[in-house]
């Protein structure tokens, strides 16, 4: 019988869905399809990250384009029978926006996907990343074919320069310019490095590119190698990305087998080899010169620039370091032209950018949007707004090197310059959404703790400066803030920026400086009134049981690990503040319809009734009924 494939099930196997059991889902699907005799008609394809990570494990049914999320093993039998045998899509597994009654069956109708523009992630969810022919079918290796058969290295560099492509890893340097500098160097050999040392908390753009479309990075690297005159490429990736490394290895092997990597590529005489180098996940290795030291086998510490790596880099040879996302843009620019690419985006920021949209947001996931889209569109249209009807407070971009952009600036477009003007930066594309329950002092403390841990220790300003900033922030959040702390933080932050040698130190004060700029009153509340308005900083909050609401159910008493709550059944419970460790367990267990426990801050306790003796609920009610 002839093959009659009519349906393909594109099951996401990015790291998120993988962890959520995607491969068990695939096994289950294959088993059920087998038992219904549908294996010839329905094929299961393991794809890279689909992007809508919050809905994983998930799949898209082709050709209908029906999206199923949160799939569980127990759903599979029903799903296969109903949809793939009988042809009736299963509503229950479709995506339903939180406020809507009816689900949205089609992927193309889901707002999360609607506003996106896929350039780098053009193959996500469509190809099997472990199959080179899938990539080739989607115009893969078409760019290298053109480059090697009809373009000179200079033509390639000029095309990239004309496209306006800027580095996607942080500072946003013009990619073509970097290539140009390297290609002009006389010294050989020259090296090319793909930087996949992605360290920002909550960011996973580069990992997803490697996982879902590794060949696009290989092709981009080949083209870059050709343009700068290099025959050796390295992919620097952290060991903690095992799936990305595995898929990259498979892709390299396949490309070598097909003659798309190695000696005499496509019979044109051009040689290019790629090696994977695994880093052990030091944040500072994202910095070019540290990364070079790490590949050389030395301690990853940055060095003074100039000379820039493009002049003198790996083993003192000219070296171009491009971010993974930057390189994945290259093949598309060659096949579709610089003009097309530069028609996307804004005046100075061309093309698209991938962001990992995380934090207090309804639709968590990986998105690719044209430059110039506003933060509002990203948060409310793609992200679906803030959960539980909370208010948006700020959006943090650029990871520990970036800053917080307040809700009032939500209309500002996302491009390199606007973000910088707002006191943040593009960075590699982490986007953390914060709601009103987020304390800016606490957030700053988190980021400074991170950079303090990750500082390599070479510059005093960064090593000791971050320590000092952390100390002051800890003091403020502990309720020990002093007059002059804000001025001190500002001055110290500026000095760290000026005195540090590499990007890590130069940007580490950003989270503090940007929050001081937009949320100064919140710092003031901590310092002057010993109040944490977002009710986060432990030493500044108290838990309190409202006697008018408590029914004496004992739940909080039983849950309290420090036995700080006294009371008896049907007697109003009382928290003894001096024993309370503020773990919040009591608030968790108090039934929502009672909601007797609240968090308070500052001197609010003084304005509330403070019981000293336990009293029965009945008696309390009687006494207070008419008052």
């Amino acid at each position: 019988m002839a093959e009659k494939k009519r349906i393909e099930l594109m099951v996401c196997t990015g790291t998120g869905c993988y962890a959520g059991g995607a491969y068990q889902i695939i096994d289950g699907l294959n088993k059920e399809l087998e038992s219904f005799g549908l294996r010839d008609e329905v094929t299961v394809v393991a794809t890279g990250c689909n992007g809508f990570c919050g809905q994983g494990p998930l799949m898209v049914v082709i050709p209908d384009n029906i999206f199923y999320g949160w799939i569980e093993i127990k759903d599979i039998h029903h799903l296969v029978e109903e949809h793939f045998l009988k042809g009736r899509p299963v509503k229950r597994l479709m995506f339903k926006p939180p406020e809507e009654k009816e689900p949205l069956p089609l992927l193309s109708d889901i707002p999360f996907f609607k506003k996106q523009l896929l350039v780098v992630l053009r193959n996500k969810g469509i190809i099997d990343p472990e199959k080179i022919t899938d990539y080739i079918a989607r115009d893969g290796y078409l760019a290298i074919e053109r480059v090697l058969s009809s373009l000179s290295p200079k033509d390639v560099t000029d095309e990239i320069l004309k496209s306006g492509l800027r580095g996607r890893g942080g500072a946003g340097f013009l990619t073509g310019k970097k290539w140009e500098v390297a290609s002009q160097q006389v010294k050989t050999p020259k090296y090319l490095i793909a930087n996949c040392d992605e360290g920002d908390p909550g960011a996973y753009m580069d990992r997803s590119v490697l996982e879902s479309d590794p060949h696009s990075v290989i092709e981009g690297m080949c083209i870059a190698g050709y343009a700068i005159g290099s025959t050796n490429g390295f992919i620097y990736v952290r060991t903690e990305y095992p799936l990305a490394i595995k898929r990259m290895r498979i892709a390299i092997e396949q490309a070598e087998e097909y003659g798309l990597l190695g000696k005499n590529i496509l019979g044109t005489g051009f040689d290019f080899e790629i090696e994977i180098r695994e880093g052990s996940g030091a944040f500072v290795c994202g910095e070019e010169t540290s990364l070079i030291h790490s590949i050389e086998g030395n301690i990853p510490k940055p060095r003074q620039r100039p000379p820039f790596p493009a002049q003198e880099g790996l083993w003192c040879c000219p070296t171009v370091i491009n971010n993974v996302e930057t390189l994945a843009n290259v093949p598309v620019i060659i096949t579709r032209g610089a003009e097309w690419f530069s028609s996307i985006g804004t005046e100075t920021s061309k093309g698209t950018k991938i962001f990992s949209l995380v934090g207090k947001i309804n639709n968590t996931g990986l998105i690719e949007v044209p430059m110039g889209l506003t933060l509002k569109e990203v948060v409310y249209e793609i992200g679906g707004g803030i959960p539980k009807g909370k208010k948006l407070k700020a959006v943090q971009t650029g990871g520990p090197s970036g800053g917080c952009i307040p809700a009032s600036m939500l209309d500002s477009p996302i491009d390199y310059e606007s973000l910088q003007k707002a006191g943040s930066m593009m960075g590699s594309g982490g986007m953390i959404v914060m709601d009103e329950d987020t304390c800016v002092v606490d957030v700053s403390k988190f980021f400074i703790q991170f950079t303090n841990d990750e500082s390599c220790g070479k510059c005093v300003s960064c090593r000791d400066g971050s320590e000092a900033v952390l100390e002051v922030l800890t003091r403020i959040s502990d309720g020990q803030g002093r007059e002059g702390d804000i001025e001190f933080l500002t001055e110290l932050g500026e000095s760290i920026k000026d005195a540090s040698m590499c990007g890590l130190g130069q940007t580490l004060p950003n989270p503090v400086l940007s929050t001081l700029r937009y949320f100064k009153e919140e710092y003031d509340a901590h310092i002057k009134e010993k109040r944490c308005p977002a009710l986060v900083c432990r030493n500044l909050i108290q838990y309190y049981i409202d006697p008018n609401k408590c029914v004496g159910c004992l739940l909080c008493i039983k849950s309290c690990p420090t036995e700080a709550i006294k009371g008896e059944s049907k007697y109003i419970h009382i928290i003894e503040q001096e024993k309370c460790h503020k773990c919040g367990q009591c608030l968790e267990v108090c039934p929502p319809k009672i909601s007797a426990i609240i968090k308070i801050t500052g001197n609010e306790l003084n304005n509330l009734v403070q019981l000293t003796e336990i009293i029965s609920c009945k008696e309390w009610k009687k006494d207070h009924e008419y008052s």
Binding site: E41, P63, K86, R88, D134, I136, L142, G259, L260
Partner: protein
């Protein structure tokens, strides 16, 4: 696997495209088989198979094939809806393998509605 030359890569791209055409979504027309309980009982699966055979035999990559539930006219099953780009959807009813062949030749390939098997042209309105 011998190393590819530029021409061989081109050929491989053409062949690989056929493998994944379903995912590209560049369809000129769409055939929907109605597979409610009534449709299945009346032999919708066989109709579906003969459609797939036709698509396979002709190596078509621009016809989307899909299934859906009951169309509401259970006595007329098995039924399909053929929707070619730019024209109204046509419902065909009481199908047999021979009818499928004719519909395929005349409607899907040549673009002429096979009036004698057609139940109606157009679709219900969704209110």
């Amino acid at each position: 696997m011998p190393k590819l030359t530029i021409d061989e890569l081109k050929k491989m791209r053409e062949n690989s495209r056929k493998e994944i055409y379903l995912r590209e979504g560049n369809f000129r027309g769409k055939v929907t088989v109605h597979m409610g309980t009534c449709g299945i009982a009346a032999g919708a699966r066989e109709i579906m198979n003969s459609f797939l055979d036709e698509i396979e035999r002709r190596k078509l990559t621009d016809i989307m094939f899909t299934t859906t539930g009951c169309a509401g006219l259970c006595s007329e099953e098995p039924m399909i809806t053929v929707e070619m780009e730019g024209s109204a959807p046509v419902k065909y009813c009481k199908l047999t393998n021979e009818k499928v062949k004719k519909i395929f030749n005349e409607h899907i390939i040549e673009g002429n509605v096979v009036k004698e098997f057609a139940l109606g042209i157009g679709s219900e309105r969704v209110g």
